[in-house]
Symmetry: D3
Subunit: 328 residues, 6 copies
């Protein structure tokens, strides 16, 4: 019984060290991650009881993924084990300006893409939960994954959970049109939306005069309780400007802006979502929640891997103006 | 136009360093290899013009595989490029007694498994070739791969090439029965068979009173010009005893026996085949050919990766009784 | 609520790669481990709900240790957190004949050495537990650690748990005399003893004509339900012979003997204990239990780190005579 | 028979990882490279049939160098093998502001410095070639290397090839005066010159009011069909501004300017030359050619090693304004 | 007999590679360093005969530390060896904006903290010395270390040495009040003070209208011959602005300012001190001395580890305006 | 002023990790070493004041070599610095049976090969020395190195030092005949000879009925005070049998025999020499001296690099029968 439940794919992530291209690599660093798992990890790290639901192959790679989630305190007892399917894998090349970092996916036919309705006992999983979170990657994986996402969202809504959703559009998985058809019905049951201006435009066709208007239109259209839009400015590949805006209760709240030196930006958006959820679940107000989400995820950019190994104290210290000197 | 043509799959090989289990690894060493590619590499290294035919995805992993073949001098100009399929991958854990090394395959739906009859212009590829080689892995990959294997073997036989075949039974790819049904017709066109006593028994049901009788029965049944049976005794995981027997022209020829300290035994059988082919193509007699095959492949056990980076000179020196001291 | 509870120290383990001496190292491999944690990890891996109780500093090293336990499924919710103390550290040099591997301890003043009676709510921790395990390292750490060990053993015995104890004599922590004075009272409450012939002699002064007589004398003296003596023959540093003997119910049961190629022997004894406990808890008989303990711990020698990442299936396969070839 | 032929030295390159000084390194990363080989590699990668001519020792280091060229598709069949000489080696330290990266050469008495006139059958090598390229490093290596450079340039000019030349002044190899004496006669036969403002001034004593005037004077003096001047501004060691200017047919063409984050700038100039040659050989106009050269070489700065593992598609995408986000 | 003698602790330094957090590290890079040792190393490297006095445990870690000092030419013959104590250790995490680098100390009960008055024969050690240097870390280690610091400073002053002192306040070792009480008497005997504006304010309560006034007040209060204040501006974690000011003989001398790309800033202040001392000992004037100190320590930021492996020539070249290009 | 003086070349040693062939390596481990330096290092480590004389280039590689000698306590103040020459380099491939380890030398034109008579002030260097040691590698380097060796041996003999010499025949440096011509006159002044049966036969043409007779003939011919013959039996590449025989004062003394697991056997002979010298210099008798030499050098086989990082205590413990268990 966990307070927070997230649902989605995790993949083995393989990346050449030292900015090497994949073609010239002779070794690869291996971690595991995935949008919804990243959220669960961050929430567990921030002190919550967070469960992650997925479907994994019962082989060393599936176990590795489960172990890494468990290492950081995530409840993995609801994972469905497949006797035969494969883990999705992705290859990540770290770039430098003017070469962006890039990803080669090898995720087809993964165990979770073959999940089927009824395999997860959602009412049992959600028993006692206060928040359910998933993202637009999960229904994009396959028809059955899409059906299970709908099943989960419905069960979560029915159980009284806050349902949050990260739009996370992945053009390599589906078309904008298909993403719209599948997700519009889901979004009707969603309470909190995490998104970017670009994804909103591509998937929902919603644009506006500035981020604030986009958020207002989203709330108008779907009745969300809150919309969080993350803002990233690519000053270079190694340096970004990072912030987020929150629109809730008819008011806008701007988070702080940080210049981040980028060690690994994968999972930053997930950290922002988790930081926001952490504060809301702890009873904090909107400004404090978006502030924490931004600060906590700014720290994520400096940490290798998908997971955010920063602590709540570090994020609070950053918000209080802690400097860049070595603390001794 | 190459003297030797081989046909088969190559995979990306990922292995944890330092005898780590896959579950505990944080990095993986990456190489590429595959039975028929290994043979082509060894022959190119031994001074022959060797081409390897395969089907690869046009992505960094496919190019990596092509590059590594090219690095060691293999002609890759006949590779068929697929705009969309994936590379097969396998994960190799190095063991220590009493834990055997082990392999986790993730090769389903690889580009070569989707090759189709007619995609390779075999007469053009084989133009000028003297020897064609493939193995029991290739037809096991898929129905279409099986059909292309048959197409290739027929074209090679028709073109006057010596056709060699390594039985290489892979239980994870097909059943013994299916392996038999598919391969018996192929073997009818084969001139030289490389095999082990165990594979011969499992795939062809042929057993005998000792290796010699097995070889005799194989020749009797299929009319092979030569049969080479490799012999491995697992003294431990880190030390093996290694040799091979040749039966040709109605006579038996035993290669030398080596105690090998094992750095990486993958590809040793392929090295033995290549070493034998090298000598036969150079006009040597049976004893010299099997001797060289054994010595050259004994050296392979000491070299990381699928490929044999020993030189012909090193194998000759080993056969001449070169010692284990550092040469200075 | 866990079925099995273990109690003891875990340390950060730092070891130079590539057989380097500490003096010449420029990097160190880092893992975590400790006798009782190793037992809990193995039991969790074998499918049991195992908790590990300790006292850790609330800093990155303490969290690292907790995380690594959690990664492999151990329940760490009963760990006591100290706001200020340090982690024990040990430096491990891997040897080669005739240089034995060696250890440099830096464990003084560790958080667990400052644990105090009453800090752990043993009745709550042991609620529902069937087995409690600790070793002779824990009471050797400090006076207060010794007192808490006594407290734990008493509570476990009172709660009806099977109490097991590994003698694990550490000459650098205390004298043989002090070890005897402290542990004899503890052993009176112990049901199952894991030991070696040497430790038995040094700590308890019990010797005999062969291992069997030693075991008989131990049972006679302390009334143990079972005594397991592990047997190690150092053929060289890289190759050992490994087995164990069980004496229970008035009968002797010899486990199988394996020649093991040594990647990392630390934790092998703990694995044997855990393998034995696993089978006993699963209702198996004495022979099957000691056989599994030996096979499972033979595999441990081949795996880097204190933890045994072998699976139950691999141990069973070894017992069934699985060979040393690569499975494909 | 290759479309493009380049001629020059390649060296083994050894560099300490992690910005270490050579004095404190315990391991070195090893690659191979050299100005003219880098050009051949880039052209092969861009789809051309490119041959590289050199002289290498017949030992593992010479073979390593040949292999790495072959890996990326370069035709190495015209390499001359020496039974006894050595490979040149250079040690590269990566810097950070205000410490520039630095190079320690150990290239004296390398195999190519002992090449002699007549050792390469230039008419055969150049048969069918459309472009010949070398640089000011080659004649600087030794008197005989200088003579063979002259031999090659003459043969190329005679065969109707476009002859291109990169001035590449190396102060550690020869004086400015000697560089001038040797190269002025060569430049008379050159069609396309790649250079920097600084090298032009030091070697040829040609200066001007701005880059454009320098280019005009060069054309006036030597009758070049085209002059390409690369422009580098060292904002810091880790960030540079990079561009190039082309003067051809009496007109100036400015390439785009990129701020590049520097992983490894060695070989960037060679990449620019190759990118330009690629487009010219493909029939593109001057603006498109210089644009591509600059974009392709901007990408080189982000890739470890001398070789440019970017693809043509990546350079085109950069020219089309592709951003710095991770493509998913 | 050394010209310069420094006194203080050195620690084993362990840091995760690749910007990893300690919690996620599986290996650590190991070096040794400490403020006063760093000064001795730099002076030895700059050509002086420099001795470092400390107390080390006679175990592999103590020897490692001694060896690394010796490697760079420091006279370690006055080190006191302890048969039983431990080395201090610190764990260093490298950060990226907005996460500062951070340090976890594990230095309690180190061998030097247990040094006692009389253990070092200061008159013998200082025989022939011209300069003695220590810092505010040493007396902070323990009461007895504080007493030995006082003993050393007195002996040095008595022997006619220039006595220099780096305030180096470490809040984790003692309070500001305690630091003041202990150090004010020491500073009365000090000739040259190295400090920062912040440390001066915290320890001595001296503030001013700008750095110059602070320096003037320090001289007024303690009668220092010279005060050097280093200035660091944290533009980001990876880029700092670095300079220093010298006040001596009633005049102010500003060193140059450098933008430094940060590989490792630990030990930069020590390098500045050593660079200044080097020039003063060589008879240079104030401006030249502070200039060299700044330039030499600017280079330190680019070098991994506590020690400055730059050469005097490199610092001179930097001062002469040497650029950021690769020298070839 | 050092008790022991050795003279010879040291080289940078580069070796691929993980048993890789040089051709397939992407990184190389770097150490420094050389026969006479190895002896000095071992003696410094065993507590003696040992100086090593050589000629090194004044560049980062020369300094690295000097630093590594200094790290282990060797007096390097007599090294002659060359402003321009190069360091010798050798590439070492680690083998596995049946592939012997192998060496690729790149040592021509090294700084020491250009040393000239008079460059070293031998009387000053040898002032106070009790022992001088060199080996057959030094005179093999060049004519001038040979002349300086003669100069050194004469000076040492004249100064009353014990002169020891390791025959160390290197077939790649000179012929057997030339080795004989040059060394016979040197050997006339030598007191102690270290050799192997094979080198004795090749260089001096001395053979016998067993090692003992060879030693006797050597003494008869040259009047040596002592002859030490090391004995190595290559059981495999990873396991050797190792011992030594001493003939002195008309009696034979056999050292113990060890089966050694080989991490790195380079420098084992030098360690044996140094261990013997250590005991003789400490006043021990012949049996104790040869025993220690063998034990100390047996340990060397287990340590990476040319240098022996074992301690005297470890060698004594081995001689006393210390086992192969981890000491805890």
């Amino acid at each position: 019984m966990s307070t927070i439940v997230t649902f989605g794919e995790a993949m083995i992530r393989l990346s050449p060290p030292g900015f090497r291209r994949l073609e010239q690599a002779t070794s690869l660093d291996m971690t595991a991650g995935g949008a919804e798992l990243n959220v669960a990890v961050a929430l567990a790290r921030l002190g919550h009881d967070a469960a992650w639901v997925s479907r994994l192959p019962d082989n060393p790679l599936g176990r590795l993924c489960r172990n890494r989630a468990r290492e950081l305190g995530v409840n993995t007892s609801h994972v469905v084990w497949s006797p035969s399917d494969r883990m999705g894998v992705y290859f990540l090349e770290f770039g430098a300006a003017p070469r962006a970092s890039s990803v080669l996916y090898d995720r087809a036919a993964s165990a979770i893409s073959r999940i089927s309705v009824g395999e997860v006992d959602w009412p049992a999983v959600l028993d006692g939960a206060r928040w359910f979170h998933t993202s637009g990657i999960t229904p994009a994986l396959s028809g059955s994954a899409s059906a299970v996402t709908a099943e989960a969202v419905s069960a979560a809504a029915a159980s009284g959970c806050t349902v949050s959703y990260d739009l996370n559009y992945r053009a390599r998985l589906w078309t904008e049109q298909r993403a719209r058809e599948v997700q519009v019905p889901l979004l009707e049951k969603v309470n909190v939306l995490f998104t970017t201006e670009e994804d909103t435009k591509r998937v929902l066709g919603i644009t506006g005069d500035g981020y604030q208007q986009v958020a207002e239109k989203l709330v108008e259209r779907f009745g969300f309780e809150a919309v969080i839009i993350t803002l990233r400015e690519d000053l270079s590949v190694w340096k970004n400007r990072w912030s987020a805006l929150l629109y809730t209760g008819g008011r806008h709240y701007a988070g702080p802006t940080y210049e981040v030196e980028i060690v690994d930006r994968v999972g930053a958006g997930d950290s922002c979502s988790a930081g926001y959820m952490h504060k809301v679940l702890s009873g904090a107000g909107p400004q404090e929640s978006v502030d924490f989400g931004v600060a906590y995820s700014a720290l994520k950019h400096t940490i290798p891997g998908d997971f955010n190994l920063a602590t709540a104290e570090e994020a609070e210290r950053l918000l209080s103006g802690g400097g860049l000197r070595i603390a001794r």
